[in-house]
Amino acid sequence: MRLTRSKIFAFACLVAGSIVMIFPFWWMVVTSLSTPAEASASASASGFNWWPSDAQWSNYPDALRRMGSKPWIGFLDALTNTVVITTLVVIGQVFSCSLVGYAFARLRFRGRGVAFGLMVATMMLPVQVTLIPMFIMFRSFGWIDTMLPLVVPAFFGAPFYIFMFRQFFSQVPESLIEAARIDGCSHVRIWVQIMLPICKPVIAITTIFTFIFAWNDFMGPLIYLQSEEQMTLAVALNSFQNQYGDFRDAHYLMAASIVTMIPCIILFLVAQKQFVSGLSLGAVKG
């Protein structure tokens, strides 16, 4: 009896919590489909408007057309830039972090312990410290207003993911590598043909997290990109807000926001299992 009562209580709390979590998204959809008048009246004395009386699907193309100064071009440019940058960042991180993680886990070289300690120490350094000199350096390379400052650093690895790959590679049985070595396999081949195929879960998590990070990154593009042709969706969405900052255009802002979120929603729904397995991998660092 006690148990069932506590279960019912927990269930009620979960339902209430879920409503709180979902409500902002729901409201976003409702606003994006409303007429301007309805959007600003949907939460008013008459009570909540849970669904627009006449859903304005045309708000979506209208909003995207208005992004940037040239109709459609602004949105398409931002979309292309975001996709290209995100893809390159993901490739760079997976490549470099798995490579370095393998070195730290499985290979002996002079100063490995010191190097590993140094890597963990750099995690403590806030990015703000290196931000300004890096900007000046990239400017002297002539890289401002190109995607290079956003993409190139990804190919040098990030301590957090290197650490995750290292933890995973450390668990691979020594006999597997030993056998390959005896058969005359080089370390590059071991890495490509043995290590990468078995560390799919880590690759998946690195891909998902760096994808979401790069897709949503705001400060990087804000600092390094200047012209409208180079902009990413996150920054374009903000300039869109400033352009139409008035509450009367909330329906366009919400429609455009939903469109920028779609890839992350799809990725999350497709890769849910990996998020949960990230749970046990996350336990390593926790």
């Binding site: 409201w27 909540f48 300004i132 979120m261 990230g278």
Partner: protein, 318 residues
Amino acid sequence: MNLHGTKSSSCTGGFGFAIPWVIGLVLLTLLPAAASIIMACYEWDGLSFSSGAKWVGLTNYSMLLFDDPQFKRALNNSLLYSLIGTPLSVGAALGAAVLLSKPVRGIGFFRTIFYLPHVLGGVATVMIWSWLLNPRFGPINEGLRMIYQLIDPLARLWQESGTTKWPRPGWLYSPEWCKPALILMQIWSLGGAMLIFLAALQHVPKNLGEAACLDGANRWRQFWHVTWPVLTPAILFNVVTGLVASMQSFNQAYLLYNRSQDDGLLFYVLYLYRCAFEPPYRVGYASAMAWIFFGIVFGLILLAVRSARGWVYYEGQP
């Protein structure tokens, strides 16, 4: 153990594999950090170092610490947001994780929903909240008004003064309410910390809980003596990462600053960004600010870790 040939080849090969990170460490961390220390002692607009930079020693630091009211404001804002928001959001994440660890029907679905806001965090979610919190047209104030209407008659029973006007929070537009508004957003995206707690909860020994139950321990005592000790390392981890992340928060402050009054949303990193990347480009000044920031963040981490000796339990320790 190894074959003779293997050892020597792995020596050179091993370093080769680590080369991407070594180059990154030198070019993207060590050199910029060194340059930043030097720059912090100059007054410079970031353009031509040979003609434009002027050595000022530690003046940048003393100016920041002693006569820059905006810096003080930014530091206060960030500390307030970080020190109040982090415990609240970590607490909420802990509560959510405990609920989501129960074997209830459809638990996977609930976990997905609770995690979703964290995954989608970005400019778009800031936009949602700025609309939800709109003082005139937003549903949050509308909901508060409805609650107020319900409790108002009750309140009047013992409060004679006819309070017909309810205190409508201005949220992002008000100097007092803008930080609670951001804390609400922070609590909403509790998914990341929640996931860490869920992982930690898997290590709670089941038989210990059952034994305690047989001994007649109530739920609360069971939680306090069995679950809580297992969770303490995860709490420390979430508090430290939460403090660092909220001190570093930039997006919300940048995107919503125009709405706030009285520099209410001037956060530390936003002020740093403005000094460095907006005219008159005080690059040296901003570098000094970055190092003070490093000191503060490091101090916060140290404080949390030091205090951990008193309340964090590790396995194999009484």
